[in-house]
């Protein structure tokens, strides 16, 4: 449905220097996919989206939607944005304040190049679009009387009113308050599935990406470093950046021991701060690696911990509680291990609290620690 081939658009600050943009992006999505471009600000995710929309002209590469090339550097094709038939929701919603809700939503039909729509057709289509986003009955409101969430819905209705094949969303939830954001997240996902539309979603919020997407592309400094399902991205990050950016994690640095290199799923890694742990490793990494351990995978015990933990099947580290914050359903601890300066973040159930300064034992199975490329 959407295909990007070697899509490149860079903004050099000075020759050879990276100032923003995207490079060599390759993607092939099937119809109905909810695709998310995820990355920190300035990584190139919005540039990618704007290239697909036609708001930016790429430097090179190819963009194909539904078999039709929209941009092809070699073939000299550059379809202007108003002929791409794409729906787009902007970060600021971009609701025209001088028009009513109805006129905002009707606009794409009024300026349509394919055919002229009759008043009745426009009325029906706008009514349907407003119903879909849950704003039936708001048609005659002035756009300026709407709340942020409602404006968001109008923007969405405007983007889908002419039934585009592709829906582009540029951080649409970032201007909403937290509870509304949760609600709109589910709503957007439901809507996308109902319409069967292919969606490209830009966000820097990893929880949004994990919750909504079928496919996520993590972008770092203009490169798509990993493309995969939310589970892939979360459980098998390709490198230190992806592991650190998607979800909270503890990153340890170390060197794969000579003994364990390349043998079996578990390796022994000597840590930079001292000590050694056993972990899973992605294929082909090493010898210098970063190890990611999710805070929720670490089990805390008071004192020296149960004797069973010392049987060698688990990694065991002793340490001291240096900080604790109570969040209701969970407590975040910071633990300083005995022989290392590296602070660990650990999430534990609130049932058995640990005092500040108390000695604890952390344990986690080798499968919970993943050695990845440093980044």
């Amino acid at each position: 449905m959407l295909k990007l081939e070697k899509l490149t658009k860079v903004y050099p600050a000075r020759p050879g220097e990276f100032a923003g943009g995207i490079r060599d992006a390759d993607i092939d999505l099937s119809a109905g996919t909810f695709f998310t471009l995820l990355g920190p600000s300035g990584c190139g995710k919005t540039t990618t989206l704007r290239c697909i929309a036609g708001l930016e002209t790429p430097d090179s590469g190819r963009i194909i939607v539904g078999g039709t090339p929209l941009y092809d550097r070699q073939a000299g094709i550059a379809v202007p944005l108003h002929r791409r038939n794409i729906g787009m929701v902007f970060q600021s919603y971009a609701i025209w304040p001088h028009m009513s809700v109805f006129e905002n939503v009707a606009f794409p039909m009024r300026v349509s190049k394919d055919r002229r729509y009759s008043g009745a057709e426009i009325k029906t289509a706008v009514g349907e679009a407003l119903d879909i986003v849950g704003l039936g009955g708001y048609a005659q409101r002035s756009a300026t009387q709407l709340s942020g969430g409602q404006q968001q819905r109008v923007a969405l209705a405007r983007a889908i009113v002419h039934r585009p094949k592709l829906l582009l969303l540029d951080e649409p939830l970032s201007n909403l308050d937290a509870s509304l954001r949760e609600e709109m997240r589910l709503e957007l996902k439901r809507l996308q599935r109902e319409l069967g539309i292919t969606a490209v979603y830009v966000t820097h919020d990893q929880s949004e990406a994990l919750a909504m997407s079928d496919v996520i592309a993590v972008i770092e400094k203009g490169r798509m470093v990993q493309v995969g399902s939310p589970r892939d991205i979360y459980f098998s990050p390709v490198n230190e950046f992806v592991a650190g950016f998607v979800g909270h994690t503890n990153i340890l640095r170390g060197r794969v021991g000579a003994d364990g290199a390349g043998v079996g799923p578990c390796r022994s890694v000597r840590l930079e701060g001292g000590g050694e742990i056993r972990c899973r490793a992605r294929n082909g990494v090493g010898p210098d690696v970063a190890i990611s351990i999710r805070p929720e995978d670490i089990v805390l015990d008071a004192g020296a911990g149960p004797a069973a933990a010392a049987d060698g099947t688990q990694n065991v580290l002793r340490g001291e509680v240096t900080a604790a914050s109570f969040l209701g359903n969970v407590v975040h601890y910071e633990i300083r291990p005995e022989n290392s300066a590296q602070i660990f973040r650990v999430e534990a159930a609130p049932a058995t609290p640990f005092d500040l300064g108390s000695a604890v034992t952390m344990r986690f199975p080798p499968e919970a620690a993943l050695a990845v490329a440093r980044g």
Binding site: T8, G16, R23, D59, G76, M88, H98, K113
Partner: protein, 584 residues
């Protein structure tokens, strides 16, 4: 890092190579069309001045051969030094008067608990609608030989001497200064309004008194804006024509602009070569000054720290000085509004000019008003002026809309179009007049002496002002609103018409009214371009004053000023108060 090193190099060599294979889209066509139209309008005045200043003008008005004589004559003119000193003195001191007076007033009204603030706004609005010539003639009457001041002086002392001769450099400075003070008031009041009162409060909390706070915080914060405004008023005073023509020429105080005027109007045949050389020198001088102004005004926003909306800075309590503030506001109201209006009313009710004494009341009649209202001539004046104002404002704002939009959105080639449209700013009115006079005399179209000649000249002259309104206006409209239209399938021109233009309409209206208001009172261009068959209000008033028909001038002027004040009120209410700040 390696990622950065192997970044492709394509981007650095893009624009040029790529332009050829991109289709000719709407914006590109628009840029090219605008460049051609603006080129035709804006380039000829500069070109013809340069050519003529370097060409020999034969006695039969034909042009032949190159020469530097005109420049030599200009630089070796023994009077040049005196004229230059006059011009600089005039500009410098009238700037000081306008800034001190208008600035103090703006601060009092915006930031203190002075009373009668409405009077200051009323004065400003009415003065925006009143032609300069009308003001100048009213003050000339007030300060003149038979005016109330000199008259009272003679009655008191019994001498035949005058206390004050307005036809002097001092008179010119005072009149020009008061003429500009409403604009200074208008622009500085927006500066003071946007000042952050927290910073002043912080100074007060630290133990500083009111005066100390004003001096070390308020004034310092407004300094960049004041400096830019001062240079702007100075440039306008160098270019000024009304006061030098009405006050300076009768008093034999010549400045640069009246010198140019004399070389056209008072030598037969008109000394076009000399006037052109003179004009080119003036152009260069103004261009240099404007360059510095540009630098200053870019700094002007540096300290403006407006944050919230609907935010109103706290006001200083003047305490025992409050009556002084009140007095200044009332003084401004009297000197800039009431006295000139009273003088005009007095003149309009009398058959001939005479001192303001109770004995005159017996001769009051409405004869002047009757003449003005029934005369074909005055009707023509009014209609011509309205047509010229409407055409110049409309055409100017349409060009400004396209140019401002392209420029604010940084479309390819827009910078060139923007520079073309800004170029007329360097032309003093009289120079613009000289240039268009020569153009209209040399084109084979029957345009010289018609109101269309004026309409074209005004369109060009005021285009930069319109552009400031549209450019600033477009910048305030989020780019996403336009991109959303594009993504919805609208072409660039559809976006402009259906999204940008409606959202820009307040700025368009303000810009239109601004051009209309200044075009209908402009004298410097009109005095050279308006012919016997195309008289306009400013020139008509000038002739009336020079011919000593003060009664009809006053009657007509009062009616005209009343109508224009209505327009000015709309301008003020439409947000001109804020928009005007960006207008220069």
């Amino acid at each position: 890092m390696t990622i950065e090193q192997d970044w492709p190099r394509v981007s650095q060599q893009k624009a040029g190579a790529r332009a050829s294979w991109l289709r000719l889209d709407q914006t590109r066509v628009l840029v090219i069309a605008l460049a051609i139209i603006l080129g035709i309008l804006v380039a000829p005045p500069a070109i013809i001045l340069l050519l003529r200043s370097l060409s020999i003008t034969n006695p039969d008005a034909t042009v032949g051969g190159w020469t530097l004589t005109h420049y030599l004559r200009f630089f070796t003119n023994p009077d040049l030094y005196r004229t230059l000193v006059n011009s600089l003195t005039f500009a410098l001191f009238s700037t000081v008067v306008a800034l001190l007076f208008g600035g103090t007033l703006a601060w009092l009204v915006e930031r203190t608990n002075t009373r009668f603030k409405a009077l200051a706004y009323l004065t400003t609005v009415i003065s925006m609608g009143t032609p300069y010539i009308l003001y100048v003639s009213a003050w000339l009457f007030l300060l003149g030989r038979s005016g109330p001041f000199n008259d009272a002086w003679r009655t008191m002392t019994g001498t035949r001497q005058v206390l004050f001769n307005p036809y002097s450099l001092t008179g010119m400075i005072l009149i020009e200064g008061f003429l500009w003070s409403p604009l200074v008031f208008l622009l500085l009041s927006s500066t003071f309004r946007s000042a952050n009162a927290d910073l002043e409060e912080a100074a007060r909390m630290s133990g500083a008194g009111v005066l100390r706070t004003v001096w070390s915080v308020s004034i310092r914060m407004a300094t960049p804006a004041i400096a830019a405004l001062a240079l702007f008023v100075f440039i306008r005073a160098i270019e000024a024509f009304e006061v030098p023509a009405l006050v300076g020429m009768p008093g034999n105080v010549d400045v640069l602009t009246t010198d140019v005027y004399r070389s056209i109007k008072e030598s037969i045949p008109p000394d076009l070569g000399y006037a052109s050389a003179y004009s080119v020198v003036l152009l260069v001088a103004v261009a240099i000054l404007l360059h510095f102004y540009g630098k200053l005004s870019r700094n002007a926003g540096r300290y403006s720290t407006v944050t919230g909306k609907g935010y109103r800075p706290r006001q200083f309590d003047l305490g025992k000085w409050r009556p002084v503030g009140d007095a200044l506001v009332i003084f401004n109201f009297l000197i800039v509004l009431v006295l000139p209006l009273l003088a005009l009313l007095w003149l309009s009710l009398l058959p001939y000019m005479r001192p303001m004494r109770p004995s005159g009341v017996a001769q009051f009649s409405l004869a002047n008003f009757a003449t003005v209202l029934s005369s074909e001539y005055y009707r023509t004046l009014a209609i011509n002026t309205l047509i010229v104002g409407v055409v110049a404002a409309s055409v100017g704002m349409i060009l400004a809309l396209f140019t401002g939009w392209l420029s604010a959105r940084r479309k390819a080639g827009a910078q060139f179009v923007d520079q073309l449209a800004t170029m007329p700013l360097v032309f003093p009115g009289i120079v613009m007049g000289v240039a268009f006079l020569m153009i209209f005399l040399s084109v084979p179209l029957p345009i010289y002496g018609t109101i269309w000649a004026l309409a074209i000249a005004y369109t060009v002259r005021y285009l930069p002002y319109g552009l400031r309104y549209t450019y600033a206006g477009v910048l305030q409209i989020s780019n996403e609103l336009e991109e959303a239209a594009g993504a919805s399938g609208a072409t660039p021109l559809q976006s402009l018409r259906r999204v940008i233009a409606p959202l820009l309409s307040p700025a368009l209206l303000s810009g239109w009214l601004f051009i209309f208001l200044i075009a209908t009172k402009e004298l410097a261009v009109a005095v050279l371009l308006s012919g016997p068959s195309s008289p306009v209000v400013a020139v008509g008033m000038y002739d009336l004053w020079v011919n000593g028909q003060g009664g009809e001038l006053a009657a007509f002027g009062l009616i005209w000023a009343a109508v224009m004040t209505l327009v000015a009120s709309v301008f003020y209410l439409a947000g001109g108060r804020a928009g005007g700040a960006g207008a220069h």
